[in-house]
Amino acid sequence: MRILYFAWVRQKVGIAEEVLSPPAEVRDVAGLVHWLSARSPGHAEAFAQPRQIRAAVNQEFAQPDSPVAANDEIAFFPPVTGG
């Protein structure tokens, strides 16, 4: 599973991307956030307020209950501010 971080989520985690193999019980975006939060203090800080985090699964906007699978590309980022 390829995990990407953008904007202040990237700054708090400390890296732009990582390739990980979460355990089988990580089935959706919310489960992945919970699992990632335990990886480092930076991850914990980035995900401290899950309501400020948005996610994409395979480059489509996703919800906390969106499923995640081994070969997916998952991205975490703040609410978008383009335009």
């Binding site: 202040w8 489509e60 991205a75 980022f77 978008v80 501010t81 383009g82 335009g83």
Partner: protein, 147 residues
């Protein structure tokens, strides 16, 4: 096919507009929106980051939705990324149609939607070297939901 581009380089409004109408006699009007970097709170520059790959897909999906809702003969979305100083153009939306209402409405739709539906993030840089991430605005969500 809409023209979608995410780029650091500045865009040329006149050239992009001319490209939409070149060789056609069925276009009654082209609506345009150019977003420009403001110097709010004395910012020295705005740095735009995006999600390569997803950004282009999201903009293409938004453009396809505009083409589904309005009878457009052409559509261009160019969004700049990187470091932009106050006064610099950030985003260009052009919509062409046989009639003005479709062009004007779809242009407003596109700029509202791309503010909330495409993965861009702005960071404001100040003269003293500090910077802060721009927070999403509830007004932008409200502007999108009206469509």
């Amino acid at each position: 096919m809409p023209r979608i581009s995410v780029q650091e380089a500045v865009f040329d409004l006149a050239a992009e507009s001319a490209a939409l109408s070149a060789g056609r006699d069925d276009i009654g009007g082209i609506a345009s929106f150019v977003g420009i970097c403001r110097a709010d709170d004395g910012i020295a520059a705005m740095v735009l980051e995006h999600y390569p790959g997803m950004t282009e897909k999201a903009l293409a999906a938004i453009a396809a939705e505009a083409e589904r809702r309005w009878p457009l003969t052409g559509c261009t979305i160019i969004h700049r990324v990187g470091r932009l100083e106050p006064g610099a153009p950030i985003v260009l939306v052009l919509t062409a149609s046989a009639h003005r209402s479709a062009a004007l409405e779809s242009c407003a739709f596109l700029i509202d939607w791309l503010k909330t539906g495409a993965p861009f993030w702005k960071r404001e840089e100040f003269a003293d070297g500090t910077s802060r991430w721009v927070e999403a605005r509830a007004e932008d969500e409200a502007a999108t939901s009206r469509w």
